[in-house]
Amino acid sequence: MTAPFGRRLCEVAANEASGGYRIFSLLDREGPAPQPGQFYMLASAHGWGEEGGHPFLPRAISVAEAAPAKNGVRLDFLVEGVGPGTDRLCELEAGEGVWVTGPLGNSFSTPKQVNPGAAGAILVGGGIGIAPMAIWRRHLVEQGIPLRVLLGFRNQEHSGGLDELFCSGDSLCPDVRLASEDGHSGHHGYVTDLLAAMLAGDDASSAVVYSCGPPAMLEAVRSLCAEAGVACELAMESPMACGFGACFGCAVPKVDGGYMRLCVDGPVVRGDAVAEVAHA
């Protein structure tokens, strides 16, 4: 299913704080439901580029959850204000307009599509990168595929989204384990420590790993999976002006030489297709 041609104006349905992050929802009356891993190019209709000329380009944001809504699809995005674009998205108020292009890019493959012998999935999310893990987790659960979810945060200030995206009722979903570098919740250390322990287990070879997070974490995931001989799919990020293959800005080095365009060849990339996850 292709994205509608062009950008369209969608209405902000809600925008709530969630820990150190924000979750905002858009009502999309035109687009198809997104697949897990896909992203949208977003820019607010007002206040985009009016102060000092920033932000200017739309921002590529992964969809965290999508659900049928009256007259369309509700799209949920998890954002942390780290610059003029994400700061503006954090300020969106219900009823405001947002220019939306998408859904864009490819999506995660099921464990059996990656490896016919695979029986389950290990999802590894870091920081704001937990967003695509949420919609992918729901799809896997609906398909009855066994999974474990490992989520890591730097500290309490740089964390959020768990209550809305990974809880059932008042408690964390039973398949989810947490790590934090400051020890405020779960394992005191990196989320990749949890992954390393899991990959050392006997049944690791029957899993496929899916991951999204900061470049250093993704590189650790890629390298741990390569050492363990476990296939992985990484949802990557790269500076991107357009999201539809026009600007050639989002170049990611391929393992066999040359570059891919992450917007059209990704954002989900097989771990063995990239030489190394470099800092974006």
């Binding site: 292709t2 994205a3 509608p4 041609f5 062009g6 950008r7 820019a43 580029g49 000092g52 000329g53 920033h54 932000p55 200017f56 380009l57 739309p58 220019w99 292009t101 864009l104 790269s238 500076p239 991107m240 002006a241 357009c242 539809f244 293959g245 026009a246 600007c247 050639f248 800005g249 989002c250 170049a251 990611v252 080095p253 030489g257 040359g258 570059y259 365009r261 059209v264 470099a278 974006a280």
Partner: protein
Amino acid sequence: MPEFCGIQLAHPVINASGTYDAIAARKVFGDALLEDFPFSAFVSKTITPEPRTGNEPRRLWETPAGMLNSIGLPNKGLEGFLAEDLPQLAELPVPLIVSVMATNREDFSRLVKAVAARDEVAAIELNVSCPNVHSGLIVGEQPSETEALMEALRPLTEKPLIVKLTPNVADPGAVAVAAEQGGADAVSLINTLKASAIDPRTREPALAAGHGGLSGPAVRPIALQQLRAVAAVTEIPTIGMGGISSGADAAEFLLSGAALVAVGTESFRDPRAGARIANELETDMYEAPLRL
């Protein structure tokens, strides 16, 4: 209906080379792209004699009302383009202009001959923002180099040859006159302005290449003045571009002597920008005072 070098166009808005990959866009948006194609002619990314992978990232950097890019002309090379891309571009519902670049006259001649021989191609744009390996000079920065290149290429085809001018010169009019004297049918301007930025996190140049080209609304007044300077001294038609984001912006260029306008960076923000601008242009240029 504008006519440009004998080519009939539905409206005066085309794309700037290297800012729209119609093949990728068709995969993303489907055939809706063809049904509602945003430009009245399509200009390809620049083709070089051999394949190029492009520059090491980081390739992009947002600047106030604009952006820097250092992409490095990734393309499949002449053979790959003719075999794989040209048949797909021929399915577009508008005339095709192919942009070419080489670093010596022999290679430039080979590109022009091979591309001009294809019926699918309506015109050729010459990207001269590159060094001549024999002289070491950037062709488009030197009137004499530009004129000599045009004299070498002009006899090779009767199809329109458009010279894409660089803004990184003191006198773009002199280069445009040289192109005209060498036999160019038209000139297009501006290419991006040479520019740089420092990444505050690393305190290093923001782009891996150290510098790049600036585009977007930030460059528009400069582009407009260069267009005016060129239009004042040449008889051949001009294609004006540089930060055009609205019909009113496009009207500024058309009122300053441009035969056509091209949209580049705005398409990154709005994939249908070309069609929107053509639409706005009708109102803004012919019916209402310009809303500047």
